[in-house]
């Protein structure tokens, strides 16, 4: 086995997401160059993980910009929901009026039929 055969797997082996095969492990145990590469990958990973706790301070003004945008988005949403609510109320009223009209027509028709039968 050559270093090239192992090289592609060293990065994944360094973070433990992949285990080296038996032959690869045996090669790395004997190969100083591959061991050095593995150590280098581990150093890079450790440095990357340490960056997780770093917080870079933004220039002033970002927070107020974000809050202003959310405010605007909230207002747009409120207006949309108001329009939606009015539309729903209008459609509901229309449906109720239609139902009442239909019920009236049925009552009227049945009375007319009764009168015709009585005469």
């Amino acid at each position: 086995m050559q270093c090239d055969d192992v090289a592609d797997d060293l990065a994944a082996a360094a973070d433990g997401s992949m285990l080296l095969g038996r032959n690869e492990r045996r090669h790395v145990e004997r190969c100083l160059r591959c061991q050095a590469e593995l150590v280098q990958y581990r150093k890079v990973l450790r440095a990357m993980r340490a960056m997780r706790t770093e917080v870079l301070e933004p220039a002033p003004g970002l927070l107020s910009d974000i809050l202003a945008n959310i405010e605007a988005a909230g207002e747009r949403r409120a207006i949309r929901s108001m329009i939606h609510g009015h539309r729903a109320a209008y459609l509901g009223g229309l449906a109720a009026a239609t139902a009442a009209g239909a019920a009236g027509a049925i009552v009227f028709a049945s009375r007319a039929r009764k009168l015709r039968t009585a005469s």
């Binding site: 160059r33 927070l63 988005a73």
Partner: protein, 190 residues
């Protein structure tokens, strides 16, 4: 999730606007840090963070609370950064892939900086900035923010296989940038 953040999330989901504003105050610097690492410049990072919080505000009812709020924000920020970078690069007619820095100003070539962990971190910051954006996004989200391959693939709109390939290429490039002499020796010896 820290208790106070959990309370704020619950209150914000119930429609408490002040609670959402407080959530922004508590988390925006962290989201900005991620956006800056993904985009590589402050102006883009500011745009990305603003867009990310508007999306979070609109989609808070969909946040199930089984992940940390910060992780949820990372995913939204990553998605916004990706959209932003794609738009920006379309506009500028730049190619995202395989962008090499013109000048070799890597601090790894400065012997004074090759001493301790702080220097390594500084070198890493510069090396990350010189990575092509497609590689940088994946390695930042995986190795700094610990997002799963699945989450990274979903937010960047790529397959998990593509995410893994990019991660491998990014790590290799970072190692070569940070340890150039030994990497070259290794290459010569093959």
């Amino acid at each position: 999730m820290p208790q106070d953040v959990a309370h704020l999330v619950t209150a914000a989901r119930d429609g408490d606007r002040e609670a959402f504003d407080e959530l922004v105050r508590v988390t925006y610097a962290e989201s900005f840090t991620l956006a800056l690492r993904l985009t590589g410049n402050e102006e883009d990072a500011r745009d990305v963070v603003q867009e990310a919080y508007i999306r979070a505000f609109r989609g808070l009812s969909r946040f199930r609370g089984d992940a940390q709020f910060s992780t949820w924000m990372y995913r939204i920020t990553a998605n916004c950064a990706n959209t932003h970078l794609v738009k920006r690069n379309k506009h500028r007619h730049e190619v995202l892939d395989d962008v090499e820095p013109v000048a070799d100003d890597r601090p790894a070539n400065d012997p004074q900086l090759q001493t301790d962990a702080t220097a390594l971190r500084h070198q890493l910051t510069v090396a990350l900035e010189t990575l092509p954006p497609k590689l940088r996004q994946v390695v930042v989200l995986r190795d700094i923010y610990d997002l799963s391959h699945e989450a990274i693939a979903a937010e960047l709109g790529i397959s998990e296989t593509a995410a893994k390939v990019r991660l491998h290429r990014a790590r290799k490039k970072l190692r070569e940038d940070l340890f150039p002499r030994r990497a070259q020796e290794a290459a010569d010896a093959v």
